[in-house]
């Protein structure tokens, strides 16, 4: 437990103090998905992004990460320059998890940890926190959907960053790991982190909610 506590104390230098969305609108393929979306998220707060399929939850998360252009409105990260905030201050875990099926879980976790600026020690701690240690030598293709999602989520812990953008993080997880990941989310919030998660079921932590109506 003590080890896990240390896991959450180290946020990098580029700590996002506040996430602010003002009047955001996104157009995809000529169709206006939504407009006028506002949100303020401070350190220690989580927000559940809800809405029907196709309403643009994923697009909004990608817009916060800078991967999708906004039609109108703006995304601000407190005083932090948005390039710096996106480069060093946030994690994005989406449906496409960026894991190569031909490589082992260890290789992938080690690479993404390095890429996020984490250390080798952090790889081990993250693998322990998500109970991945005995899976590390398997190729990613051998993992079940839930195990694979846990591997993707372990990146959140291996390289500490303030803002977590999660796209349906719980869907492939079993009941035990929904609860287990809830504990990890609560710790992240306690240590001053922020979470914006697109979900269909309620988040296992206290959270604001933002409904997107398509």
């Amino acid at each position: 437990m003590r080890r896990r506590a240390t896991l959450f104390k180290r946020l990098g230098d580029s700590v996002i103090e506040q996430l602010l969305l003002r009047g955001c609108a996104i157009r995809r393929g000529g169709r206006l998905l939504f407009e006028g979306v506002d949100l303020s998220l401070r350190r220690g707060e989580a927000c559940a992004l809800t809405g029907p399929n196709g309403s643009g939850k994923t697009s909004l998360l990608r817009a916060v990460a800078g991967l999708v252009r906004l039609e109108a409105g703006e995304v601000a990260f407190g005083d932090l320059d948005s390039a710096e905030a996106r480069g060093e201050g946030l994690h994005f875990v989406g449906h496409a998890d960026g894991l190569k099926s031909s490589r082992t879980a260890r290789e992938e976790l080690a690479f993404w940890t390095r890429w996020g600026g984490g250390t080798d020690g952090a790889v081990r701690e993250a693998a322990e926190a998500l109970d991945l240690v005995r899976l590390l030598d398997l190729e990613v293709r051998r993992l079940s959907a839930g195990q694979r999602r846990r591997l993707a989520l372990s990146r959140l812990l291996a390289a500490p960053r303030a803002l977590w953008l999660l796209d349906e993080p719980l869907s492939p997880l079993d009941a035990r790991w929904r609860e287990g990941f809830g504990v990890l989310m609560a710790r992240h919030l306690e240590s001053g982190g922020m979470i914006l998660a697109a979900v269909h079921d309620p988040l296992p932590v206290a959270a604001k909610s933002l409904e997107i109506i398509g």
Partner: protein, 221 residues
């Protein structure tokens, strides 16, 4: 630096495994180099005359092989998203991806090129120049090829599109390298061809990553 070296190691490993890796690429190269004498005829004089050029064109074609997957896989599985969420500029990331591609396929092809040319009947003293041309040319092929691979992201049958975009960009290095080899074989000054090939390779290394990064951003958004 560890972030960048980790990326280079990963990209080289992925390129090594992509589509069978260097073994298949070199095998394809050997196949094309074997087809040529069957079409042209077995007379040694005729073959020796075209050997360096044929080896050179086969090299350009073999460089195309695994190119289409350079960005495609990362784009499909979401890795490209995560690669952009980093303090490392996307241009540098693209540079390292192409460098990995070159290390895993360009360098083995450069080793195979002199062997293929000599097997077709080129003089053995041509071997060092063919190796040098293939190394430099491979660099140009990888970095201009990367532009095509990035531009065809998200297109169906992207591999074919990559080839169509990239082949015109392969024209200058093929001319410069072929010119240098031809000049050397006929005892003329050959260094200007090699210098121009080097210049083209340097230009593609400098400009290619800018174009690739722009194309990737466009494909993602």
């Amino acid at each position: 630096m560890s972030r960048l070296s980790a990326l280079l190691v990963r990209e080289t490993a992925l390129a090594w495994g992509r589509g069978g890796g260097p073994l298949v690429t070199v095998g394809f190269y050997a196949g094309v180099a074997t087809l040529l004498p069957l079409a042209i005829g077995p007379e040694p004089e005729r073959l020796a005359a075209i050997a360096p050029g044929a080896a050179w064109v086969a090299l350009a074609l073999a460089s195309l092989l695994s190119l289409d997957r350079l960005f495609e896989r990362d784009y499909e599985d979401g890795a490209l998203d995560l690669l952009t969420l980093s303090p490392t500029p996307l241009e540098l990331t693209c540079f390292l991806k192409c460098l990995g591609q070159w290390l895993a396929t360009g360098a083995p092809l450069a080793l195979a090129a002199p062997i293929a040319a000599i097997a077709l009947g080129a003089k053995p003293d041509l071997a060092p120049l063919i190796f040098a041309c293939a190394l430099l040319g491979g660099l140009a092929f990888a970095f201009t090829g990367g532009i095509g691979a990035a531009l065809s992201l998200g297109a169906r049958r992207g591999g074919l599109l990559t080839a169509v975009i990239v082949l015109p960009l392969f024209v200058p290095p093929v001319i410069f390298g072929g010119g240098a080899l031809d000049a050397f074989a006929s005892g003329l000054p050959w260094s200007s061809g090699l210098a121009l090939l080097g210049a083209y390779a340097a230009m593609s290394v400098a400009i290619g990553p800018l174009a690739m990064a722009a194309a990737c951003r466009n494909a993602l958004s």
